[in-house]
């Protein structure tokens, strides 16, 4: 993770376009300016960033599902539960599953585990739209390389 750059996930472990699931590694850094304020002397991974990690994992699943034709944008959160503190240095396993694909939107269930224990989960709604014009799509392709997006699953799935 590079929290300051909103890079909340590190590597896609598994993308299954038949089951509509994704699993992602996300390692909380030991140092970040964010921990200076959240909180002084008691660094904690902000809950909103855990939500963002679940949203990003879900988003890559939707991008894979649409074969890089559509871009998901976070629209709504339901049943968000931040179950326990997450601290610097912890290794997160983020999982998501598409529960519904509507016309122009999608809904996922996502969760984060640490050492096999669920630390947070949420139901997430995305608007799913054509990629904005300009460099947006090529930027996302670049990011996909950094997180080891399994392009073969899109090309051959």
């Amino acid at each position: 993770m590079r929290l300051e750059y909103f890079q909340l996930i590190d590597r896609i472990i598994d993308l299954n376009l038949n089951d509509l699931t994704i699993r992602v590694e996300a390692n909380v850094p030991t140092d970040s300016t964010i921990f200076e304020g959240h909180f002084p002397g008691r660094p904690l991974m902000p809950g909103v960033l855990l939500v963002e990690a679940m949203a990003q994992a879900s988003g890559w699943l939707i991008i894979g599902r649409t074969r890089f034709k559509k871009m998901p944008f976070l629209a709504a959160l339901k049943e968000v539960k931040l179950r326990t503190f997450v601290t610097p240095g912890q290794a997160l396993l983020v999982s998501a599953k598409i529960m519904h694909e509507g016309s122009g939107f999608a809904i996922t269930e996502a969760e984060v585990k640490v050492d096999g224990k669920m630390v947070c989960n949420a139901d997430i709604t995305f608007r799913v739209v054509d990629f904005p014009p300009g460099d947006f799509a090529s930027h996302m392709h670049e990011v996909s390389k950094r997180i080891a997006f399994p392009m073969e699953s899109v090309n051959h799935g």
């Binding site: 709504a76 519904h100 509507g102 016309s103 122009g104 939107f105 809904i107 709604t125 608007r127």
Partner: protein, 93 residues
């Protein structure tokens, strides 16, 4: 078995916290009931699940934006219900 309208009206009432008795077949979801596009996603999700269909919201929005259809054709509830019935019937073919 409840009518399509009753099912849709109940979904809207529950999803948007709108009194059920204010929702009529003549109600326009946007203009009369004040449902915004985000709330309508929740409604579409519930309708998709309840009827086993996929409301073609993207197509409808495009038609309205292109001037080929009016919002009344899709978002006045009696018209919305007719579209739902059409989609359910098409699913069975």
């Amino acid at each position: 078995m409840p009518s399509t309208f009753d099912t849709v009206a109940n979904i809207i009432a529950e999803t948007c916290d709108i009194p059920r008795d204010t929702i009529t077949p003549e109600s326009h979801a946007i203009d009369d009931l004040g449902i915004d596009s985000l709330d309508f996603l929740d409604i579409a999700f519930a309708i998709d699940k309840a009827f086993g269909i996929k409301l073609p919201l993207e197509q409808w929005t495009q038609e309205v934006n292109d001037g080929k259809a009016t919002t009344e054709q899709y978002f006045v509830l009696k018209n919305l219900c007719a579209r739902i019935d059409d989609l359910v019937a098409a699913k069975g073919k």
